[in-house]
Amino acid sequence: MNIEALIRWILQLPVAHFVQTHSWMWATGEILHFMGLAVMFGAVVVFDLRVLGVARGLDLRQLHHYLRWGMAAFAVNALTGAMFIMTFPAQYIYNAAFELKVICLLLAGLNLACFYLFVWPRLRTLGPDDAAPAFARASAALSLTLLVCIACFGRYTAFYKFAPLGY
Protein backbone atom coordinates (compact mmCIF):
# COMPACT_ATOMS: atom_id res chain seq x y z
CA MET A 1 0.00 0.00 0.00
CA ASN A 2 1.48 3.35 -0.95
CA ILE A 3 1.29 6.48 1.23
CA GLU A 4 -1.44 8.20 -0.80
CA ALA A 5 -3.66 5.11 -0.60
CA LEU A 6 -3.07 4.93 3.14
CA ILE A 7 -4.06 8.61 3.54
CA ARG A 8 -7.20 8.08 1.40
CA TRP A 9 -8.11 5.02 3.46
CA ILE A 10 -7.70 6.93 6.78
CA LEU A 11 -9.77 9.84 5.42
CA GLN A 12 -12.73 7.64 4.52
CA LEU A 13 -12.94 6.33 8.10
CA PRO A 14 -15.73 7.97 10.15
CA VAL A 15 -13.28 9.74 12.54
CA ALA A 16 -11.98 12.21 9.91
CA HIS A 17 -15.44 13.29 8.81
CA PHE A 18 -16.80 13.55 12.34
CA VAL A 19 -13.95 15.66 13.74
CA GLN A 20 -13.82 17.88 10.64
CA THR A 21 -17.53 18.65 10.95
CA HIS A 22 -17.48 19.05 14.76
CA SER A 23 -14.65 21.51 15.44
CA TRP A 24 -15.15 21.29 19.24
CA MET A 25 -13.86 17.71 18.98
CA TRP A 26 -10.51 19.01 17.78
CA ALA A 27 -10.30 21.68 20.51
CA THR A 28 -11.32 19.16 23.19
CA GLY A 29 -8.69 16.73 21.94
CA GLU A 30 -6.01 19.44 22.11
CA ILE A 31 -7.06 20.46 25.63
CA LEU A 32 -6.84 16.84 26.84
CA HIS A 33 -3.53 16.34 24.98
CA PHE A 34 -1.96 19.33 26.80
CA MET A 35 -3.38 18.37 30.19
CA GLY A 36 -2.05 14.84 29.62
CA LEU A 37 1.35 16.33 28.80
CA ALA A 38 1.35 18.25 32.10
CA VAL A 39 0.47 15.13 34.12
CA MET A 40 3.18 13.12 32.33
CA PHE A 41 5.76 15.84 32.96
CA GLY A 42 4.96 15.84 36.68
CA ALA A 43 5.06 12.07 37.09
CA VAL A 44 8.14 11.45 34.93
CA VAL A 45 10.22 14.44 36.06
CA VAL A 46 9.70 13.76 39.78
CA PHE A 47 10.44 10.03 39.47
CA ASP A 48 13.48 10.47 37.19
CA LEU A 49 14.97 13.24 39.34
CA ARG A 50 14.68 10.99 42.40
CA VAL A 51 16.54 8.26 40.47
CA LEU A 52 19.16 10.88 39.55
CA GLY A 53 19.66 11.66 43.24
CA VAL A 54 17.33 14.58 44.02
CA ALA A 55 15.21 14.15 47.18
CA ARG A 56 17.00 11.04 48.36
CA GLY A 57 14.95 9.64 51.23
CA LEU A 58 11.87 9.15 49.05
CA ASP A 59 11.23 5.44 48.60
CA LEU A 60 11.12 4.60 44.88
CA ARG A 61 8.48 1.89 45.26
CA GLN A 62 6.16 4.46 46.83
CA LEU A 63 7.09 7.15 44.31
CA HIS A 64 6.25 4.68 41.54
CA HIS A 65 2.60 5.39 42.41
CA TYR A 66 2.84 8.67 40.49
CA LEU A 67 4.10 6.90 37.36
CA ARG A 68 0.65 5.29 37.15
CA TRP A 69 -0.80 8.77 36.74
CA GLY A 70 1.73 9.28 33.97
CA MET A 71 0.65 6.04 32.26
CA ALA A 72 -3.02 7.07 32.40
CA ALA A 73 -2.06 10.44 30.90
CA PHE A 74 -0.10 8.65 28.18
CA ALA A 75 -3.21 6.62 27.30
CA VAL A 76 -5.21 9.87 26.97
CA ASN A 77 -2.49 11.38 24.76
CA ALA A 78 -2.19 8.29 22.58
CA LEU A 79 -5.96 8.34 21.96
CA THR A 80 -6.19 12.08 21.28
CA GLY A 81 -3.01 11.91 19.17
CA ALA A 82 -4.52 9.09 17.10
CA MET A 83 -7.61 11.26 16.60
CA PHE A 84 -5.48 14.15 15.28
CA ILE A 85 -3.66 11.88 12.81
CA MET A 86 -6.88 10.23 11.62
CA THR A 87 -8.44 13.66 11.04
CA PHE A 88 -5.61 15.23 9.00
CA PRO A 89 -3.29 12.32 8.08
CA ALA A 90 -1.32 14.23 5.43
CA GLN A 91 -0.50 16.98 7.94
CA TYR A 92 1.36 14.41 10.04
CA ILE A 93 2.68 11.86 7.58
CA TYR A 94 4.47 14.49 5.46
CA ASN A 95 5.95 16.31 8.44
CA ALA A 96 9.60 16.21 9.51
CA ALA A 97 8.85 17.39 13.06
CA PHE A 98 6.20 14.71 13.50
CA GLU A 99 8.56 12.01 12.15
CA LEU A 100 11.16 13.09 14.74
CA LYS A 101 8.47 12.95 17.42
CA VAL A 102 7.58 9.38 16.43
CA ILE A 103 11.26 8.36 16.55
CA CYS A 104 11.54 9.85 20.06
CA LEU A 105 8.33 8.08 21.12
CA LEU A 106 9.71 4.75 19.89
CA LEU A 107 12.99 5.36 21.73
CA ALA A 108 11.05 6.29 24.88
CA GLY A 109 9.04 3.06 24.55
CA LEU A 110 12.25 1.09 24.19
CA ASN A 111 13.71 2.88 27.22
CA LEU A 112 10.55 2.10 29.21
CA ALA A 113 10.74 -1.59 28.24
CA CYS A 114 14.39 -1.68 29.35
CA PHE A 115 13.38 0.11 32.53
CA TYR A 116 10.86 -2.55 33.55
CA LEU A 117 13.02 -5.46 32.34
CA PHE A 118 16.37 -4.46 33.84
CA VAL A 119 16.28 -1.23 35.86
CA TRP A 120 13.15 -1.50 37.99
CA PRO A 121 13.91 -5.02 39.40
CA ARG A 122 17.13 -3.48 40.77
CA LEU A 123 15.66 -0.14 41.90
CA ARG A 124 12.85 -1.74 43.87
CA THR A 125 15.36 -3.49 46.11
CA LEU A 126 16.91 -0.15 47.16
CA GLY A 127 16.21 1.55 50.47
CA PRO A 128 14.84 5.12 50.57
CA ASP A 129 18.30 6.65 51.07
CA ASP A 130 20.24 4.50 48.60
CA ALA A 131 21.72 6.00 45.45
CA ALA A 132 20.55 4.49 42.16
CA PRO A 133 23.20 2.64 40.12
CA ALA A 134 24.75 4.37 37.11
CA PHE A 135 22.74 2.46 34.49
CA ALA A 136 19.49 3.47 36.24
CA ARG A 137 20.59 7.11 36.26
CA ALA A 138 21.45 6.90 32.55
CA SER A 139 17.98 5.51 31.85
CA ALA A 140 16.37 8.35 33.86
CA ALA A 141 18.44 10.99 32.05
CA LEU A 142 17.47 9.50 28.68
CA SER A 143 13.82 9.45 29.73
CA LEU A 144 13.89 13.16 30.67
CA THR A 145 15.66 14.11 27.44
CA LEU A 146 13.16 12.19 25.31
CA LEU A 147 10.22 13.71 27.19
CA VAL A 148 11.38 17.24 26.33
CA CYS A 149 12.16 16.22 22.73
CA ILE A 150 8.67 14.71 22.32
CA ALA A 151 7.06 17.93 23.59
CA CYS A 152 9.37 19.99 21.36
CA PHE A 153 8.75 18.09 18.12
CA GLY A 154 5.05 17.86 18.97
CA ARG A 155 4.88 21.65 19.22
CA TYR A 156 6.82 22.16 15.98
CA THR A 157 4.53 19.67 14.19
CA ALA A 158 1.77 22.32 14.12
CA PHE A 159 4.03 24.69 12.20
CA TYR A 160 4.47 22.47 9.18
CA LYS A 161 1.71 23.85 6.99
CA PHE A 162 -1.97 23.61 7.28
CA ALA A 163 -3.51 23.73 10.72
CA PRO A 164 -6.99 24.83 9.65
CA LEU A 165 -8.44 24.44 13.15
CA GLY A 166 -5.84 26.52 14.96
CA TYR A 167 -2.36 25.74 16.17
Partner: protein
Amino acid sequence: MNWLEWLESTPPSTWVRETEALLGLPGMLFLHTVGMGLLVGTSLVIGLRVMGATPQLPLPLFARFRPLIGWGVIINVVSGLALLLAYPTKALTNPMFYAKLAFILIATLAWRSVMLTAFSGATPAVVTARTRRIMLLALFSWFAAVLCGRLLAYTYRHLMANSP
Protein backbone atom coordinates in the same frame (compact mmCIF):
# COMPACT_ATOMS: atom_id res chain seq x y z
CA MET B 1 -3.21 54.39 15.05
CA ASN B 2 -4.11 52.85 18.41
CA TRP B 3 -1.50 51.56 20.79
CA LEU B 4 -2.06 47.89 19.88
CA GLU B 5 -1.41 48.67 16.24
CA TRP B 6 1.73 50.57 17.29
CA LEU B 7 2.89 47.68 19.50
CA GLU B 8 2.40 45.20 16.65
CA SER B 9 4.54 47.40 14.39
CA THR B 10 7.53 47.49 16.77
CA PRO B 11 10.57 45.41 15.73
CA PRO B 12 10.45 42.96 18.69
CA SER B 13 6.77 42.16 18.07
CA THR B 14 7.32 41.77 14.33
CA TRP B 15 10.36 39.59 14.95
CA VAL B 16 8.59 37.05 17.19
CA ARG B 17 5.63 36.93 14.78
CA GLU B 18 7.44 36.72 11.46
CA THR B 19 10.94 35.31 11.96
CA GLU B 20 11.80 31.98 10.39
CA ALA B 21 14.18 31.32 13.31
CA LEU B 22 13.37 28.26 15.41
CA LEU B 23 13.25 30.49 18.49
CA GLY B 24 10.43 32.60 17.04
CA LEU B 25 6.76 31.83 17.56
CA PRO B 26 7.07 28.00 17.55
CA GLY B 27 10.05 28.21 19.91
CA MET B 28 8.12 30.40 22.34
CA LEU B 29 5.14 28.02 22.19
CA PHE B 30 7.51 25.09 22.87
CA LEU B 31 9.01 26.89 25.88
CA HIS B 32 5.50 27.76 27.10
CA THR B 33 4.58 24.06 26.84
CA VAL B 34 7.64 22.84 28.76
CA GLY B 35 7.14 25.56 31.39
CA MET B 36 3.52 24.44 31.75
CA GLY B 37 4.62 20.82 32.17
CA LEU B 38 7.11 21.76 34.90
CA LEU B 39 4.73 24.14 36.68
CA VAL B 40 1.45 22.20 36.49
CA GLY B 41 2.96 18.71 36.52
CA THR B 42 5.18 19.24 39.55
CA SER B 43 2.35 21.07 41.34
CA LEU B 44 0.11 18.08 40.67
CA VAL B 45 2.53 15.56 42.24
CA ILE B 46 3.22 17.75 45.30
CA GLY B 47 -0.51 18.51 45.49
CA LEU B 48 -1.52 14.85 45.41
CA ARG B 49 0.95 14.13 48.23
CA VAL B 50 -0.43 17.03 50.29
CA MET B 51 -3.97 15.73 49.67
CA GLY B 52 -3.07 12.31 51.03
CA ALA B 53 -1.50 10.17 48.25
CA THR B 54 1.54 8.05 49.27
CA PRO B 55 1.28 9.02 52.97
CA GLN B 56 4.38 6.93 53.79
CA LEU B 57 6.61 9.33 51.83
CA PRO B 58 7.85 12.21 54.03
CA LEU B 59 6.15 15.42 52.91
CA PRO B 60 9.11 17.78 53.63
CA LEU B 61 11.23 15.92 51.03
CA PHE B 62 8.76 16.94 48.32
CA ALA B 63 9.97 20.52 48.87
CA ARG B 64 13.09 19.49 46.89
CA PHE B 65 10.96 19.54 43.75
CA ARG B 66 9.68 23.06 44.33
CA PRO B 67 12.49 24.73 42.30
CA LEU B 68 10.99 23.00 39.22
CA ILE B 69 7.85 25.07 39.76
CA GLY B 70 9.97 28.23 40.00
CA TRP B 71 11.69 27.35 36.70
CA GLY B 72 8.29 26.70 35.12
CA VAL B 73 7.10 30.13 36.24
CA ILE B 74 10.20 31.90 34.89
CA ILE B 75 10.04 30.08 31.52
CA ASN B 76 6.33 30.80 31.16
CA VAL B 77 6.45 34.46 32.16
CA VAL B 78 9.21 35.08 29.58
CA SER B 79 7.65 32.98 26.78
CA GLY B 80 4.16 34.25 27.67
CA LEU B 81 5.25 37.89 27.39
CA ALA B 82 6.91 37.11 24.03
CA LEU B 83 3.67 35.50 22.77
CA LEU B 84 1.65 38.46 24.05
CA LEU B 85 4.08 40.85 22.35
CA ALA B 86 3.68 39.00 19.04
CA TYR B 87 -0.14 39.10 19.05
CA PRO B 88 -1.33 41.60 21.69
CA THR B 89 -4.71 42.27 20.04
CA LYS B 90 -5.43 38.56 19.73
CA ALA B 91 -5.05 38.02 23.51
CA LEU B 92 -6.25 41.34 24.94
CA THR B 93 -9.55 41.40 23.01
CA ASN B 94 -10.42 37.85 24.10
CA PRO B 95 -12.23 37.42 27.48
CA MET B 96 -10.69 33.93 27.67
CA PHE B 97 -7.27 35.55 28.18
CA TYR B 98 -8.50 37.36 31.30
CA ALA B 99 -10.15 34.16 32.53
CA LYS B 100 -6.75 32.45 32.17
CA LEU B 101 -5.03 35.21 34.16
CA ALA B 102 -7.75 34.98 36.85
CA PHE B 103 -7.24 31.22 37.21
CA ILE B 104 -3.45 31.72 37.42
CA LEU B 105 -4.01 34.29 40.18
CA ILE B 106 -6.35 31.98 42.12
CA ALA B 107 -3.97 29.04 41.70
CA THR B 108 -0.98 31.12 42.87
CA LEU B 109 -2.77 32.45 45.97
CA ALA B 110 -4.16 29.02 46.90
CA TRP B 111 -0.76 27.39 46.30
CA ARG B 112 1.07 29.94 48.46
CA SER B 113 -1.46 29.48 51.22
CA VAL B 114 -0.88 25.71 51.25
CA MET B 115 2.91 26.06 51.05
CA LEU B 116 2.91 28.33 54.11
CA THR B 117 1.08 25.72 56.19
CA ALA B 118 2.26 22.37 54.77
CA PHE B 119 5.94 23.35 54.32
CA SER B 120 6.25 25.79 57.21
CA GLY B 121 9.26 23.95 58.63
CA ALA B 122 7.27 22.77 61.62
CA THR B 123 7.67 19.03 62.11
CA PRO B 124 5.50 17.14 61.66
CA ALA B 125 3.84 19.27 59.00
CA VAL B 126 0.18 19.76 59.71
CA VAL B 127 -2.16 19.10 56.80
CA THR B 128 -5.71 19.84 57.77
CA ALA B 129 -8.87 19.12 55.78
CA ARG B 130 -8.99 22.84 55.00
CA THR B 131 -5.44 22.72 53.57
CA ARG B 132 -6.44 19.81 51.35
CA ARG B 133 -9.46 21.71 50.05
CA ILE B 134 -7.32 24.75 49.22
CA MET B 135 -4.85 22.47 47.42
CA LEU B 136 -7.69 20.99 45.40
CA LEU B 137 -8.69 24.55 44.44
CA ALA B 138 -5.09 25.30 43.39
CA LEU B 139 -4.85 22.18 41.20
CA PHE B 140 -8.29 22.78 39.70
CA SER B 141 -7.27 26.36 38.87
CA TRP B 142 -3.99 25.28 37.24
CA PHE B 143 -5.83 22.90 34.93
CA ALA B 144 -8.51 25.52 34.27
CA ALA B 145 -5.71 27.93 33.26
CA VAL B 146 -4.38 25.27 30.84
CA LEU B 147 -7.90 24.87 29.44
CA CYS B 148 -8.30 28.64 28.89
CA GLY B 149 -4.80 28.91 27.42
CA ARG B 150 -5.53 26.19 24.88
CA LEU B 151 -8.88 27.80 24.01
CA LEU B 152 -7.06 31.07 23.15
CA ALA B 153 -6.13 29.44 19.83
CA TYR B 154 -9.80 28.89 18.92
CA THR B 155 -11.81 31.72 20.50
CA TYR B 156 -10.03 34.94 19.45
CA ARG B 157 -12.10 37.56 17.63
CA HIS B 158 -9.34 39.77 16.18
CA LEU B 159 -5.94 38.37 15.20
CA MET B 160 -4.33 41.82 14.86
CA ALA B 161 -5.35 45.46 15.39
CA ASN B 162 -5.98 46.08 11.70
CA SER B 163 -7.55 42.70 10.89
CA PRO B 164 -11.36 42.54 10.51
